[in-house]
């Protein structure tokens, strides 16, 4: 990612400036990449769907940055977490390859869309069934407890709609009983596909669920990058300190369709003017300027570099070969001798 100098000289402020900058640039990278993916989708170059994190990059990047895979931290992102994935350390090319069906991608074109992961680096390859990846992240923390890998934490993402699943409940409760160092980031973006939260839950704020699980909860304006960064950083510290699961609700608005096939006609224009309706990227850009942490020229330069980076990733993924069905093993088992292969008929 493009680097830039931080002008502030006060060390503490320099630290936050630097972190803010880093976060902003991941957000920008995610946004620009996803816009590119959307245009490839419209051009018919992407099979499957394209799901954007537009409007929730600040919340997503907050968790991604709070985790450190070098320390053994585990991350379970969902469909709108391109920014968090980048911050966690997933290479951009993995996203490009997965969307574009390159056989060199982490899922080898067997799985696509946003269903990628990297188990070795602690990045959970989500399946589609909402909520079902939470207990998988918990299981890694349980595994680490068994193997004595202390100090590692987990972070997992879910949407407002995903909180209605049985899997969400069972996993949260289990994490609470096991007092796991798990951050659960709920992006309340006011919609699950077309369904407004009024048809999804009846509590005032999803953070009201924390007490019922016996865990700590925080509810924030997720359009505010500083707040996101601080909240997740504190939550990570508390989780590492043995304070158990941390439920963080981020309030924001989905600024795009559910996927790129969806024009989101059901989201009224006023929503954007109301609380949490802003674009976190615009707000962060303003903040950078206001705090004098970056100039417009800096941002322009970053943008240009990022555009180049995105261009490189997508065009190199596009040049890469797709899968060859005749090279495929067509076996789902790792134990070769027990694999039956095709039907015997």
């Amino acid at each position: 990612m493009a680097e830039a100098d931080i002008k502030d000289t006060n060390p503490e402020s320099r630290d936050s400036a630097s972190k803010y900058q880093t976060a902003f640039r991941y957000m920008l990278l995610a946004r620009i990449f996803e816009e590119r993916a959307a245009s490839l989708y419209r051009a018919g170059k992407i099979m499957g769907g394209v799901f954007m994190g537009k409007g929730q990059e600040a919340f997503s990047v907050g968790l991604g940055l709070a985790l450190d895979h070098h320390r053994g931290d585990v991350y379970g992102p969902l469909i709108r977490d391109q920014a968090g994935r980048l911050a966690f350390g997933e290479p951009l090319i993995d996203a490009a390859r997965t969307y574009l069906g390159s056989v060199e991608g982490p899922m080898r074109a067997r799985d696509g869309n946003v269903h990628r992961g990297n188990i070795a680096m602690g990045l959970i390859p989500m399946i589609s069934h909402l909520g079902s990846h939470i207990s998988v992240v918990s299981g890694r923390l349980i595994g680490k407890r068994f193997t004595g890998q202390t100090g590692a934490i987990g972070g997992v993402c879910i949407g407002d709609g995903g909180t209605s699943t049985g899997a969400f409940h069972e996993a949260l409760n289990q994490a609470a009983v096991e007092k796991l160092p798990l951050i659960i980031a709920v992006a309340d973006n006011q919609f699950a596909y077309s369904t407004p939260t009024s048809r999804q839950f009846a509590c005032k704020d999803l953070v009201d669920k924390a007490i019922g699980y016996g865990i700590e909860g925080h509810s924030i304006d997720a359009t505010d990058l500083s707040l996101c960064l601080d909240t997740f950083e504190q939550a990570a510290t508390r989780a590492r300190d043995g304070q158990g699961p941390q439920l963080i609700i981020g309030h924001l608005l989905r600024l795009c369709g559910h996927g790129e096939h969806d024009d989101a006609c059901y989201i009224s224009a006023e929503k954007k003017q109301q609380a949490f309706g802003g674009d976190c990227l615009d707000l962060a850009r303003q903040q950078l300027i206001e705090q004098d942490w970056a100039s417009l020229t800096d941002i322009e330069q970053w943008t240009a570099k990022i555009q180049e980076e995105v261009e490189q990733a997508t065009s190199s993924a596009q040049r890469e070969p797709g899968p060859d069905p005749f090279q495929e093993s067509w076996q789902a088992l790792s134990t070769q001798r027990l694999a039956e292969g095709h039907t015997r008929a």
Partner: protein, 321 residues
Amino acid sequence: MSITYLEAIQAAQDRALAQNESVYIYGQDVGSFGGAFKATKNLAAKYPGRVIDAPISEDAMVGSAIGATAEGMRPVLEMQFADFSTVAINQICNQAATQFWRTGVPCPITVRLPSGGTEGGGPFHSQSMEAIYAQYPGLIVLTPATVEDAYSMLLEAIAIDDPVVFCEHKYLYYHLKADQLPSKNLPVGKARIARAGKHATVVTYSAMVHEALRAAEALEEEGWQIEIVDLRSVKPIDTDTVLASVARTGRLLCVSEAFPWGGVNAEVIARVTAEGFHLLDAPPKRLNAKDTPIPFHPDLWKTHRPASQSIAASLRELLRY
């Protein structure tokens, strides 16, 4: 006028809602949005309060529908994708399917499963789950292959007093068109001869009927007349129609898009070999998807599922025997 398979499903629900006050529709985004595939388009506006958005709670969706039947309602549930019904399987197979047998009170729910593979669908948006449900006593499992069947069988499913798992194929949603909706049709439980022939029988259902038809055309050029039986319903199976066809042709190939172990193909072969062993001039064959999850990439997906070419190749082998 021309109507697609998907429009037929919408029309059947429209008609069911119009005809019977007890019918309501429940599922994620089925309300004003009209559903992920638009199978309930316009219905919420036309039938206020009777087409209802559900939270992402498949277990509770089905459980509540079961309860509503005891008050005389006939709920139609839409799963957003068949694959997501795994989290409702307990309510479908243990609660709904056992109720009549346990209590004598029927449980008329219809669970719509947008099923089967499409390009880029991948492992969790492509599954064919009919044979999972068919194993449980107390369920009826339908797999319409035509626009006409999508319409008439869905209407019939809603009218049936037992729980029906309605496996509609997403690949057919837009690909398949008919001139008009049928005014009458074969009843649920009867298979249909989709193409008459005399050299071999293909027993299949859902999207694979069309692959088989294409294969039959290819073989016709080679001088073979292939009969194709469209099961329409995989539980019950119309064994008599299948046996009658095998009696005519002496050769059987079963084709299904589902995973290879067990399933409809194995069940049909077990029935035919038990009751029509002497009718067979060659060992029965079957063709399924491969024994891996369903691949995302179209090039893999096309190889994973049976298609006209692989069906034709199997048929050639069968005819060579």
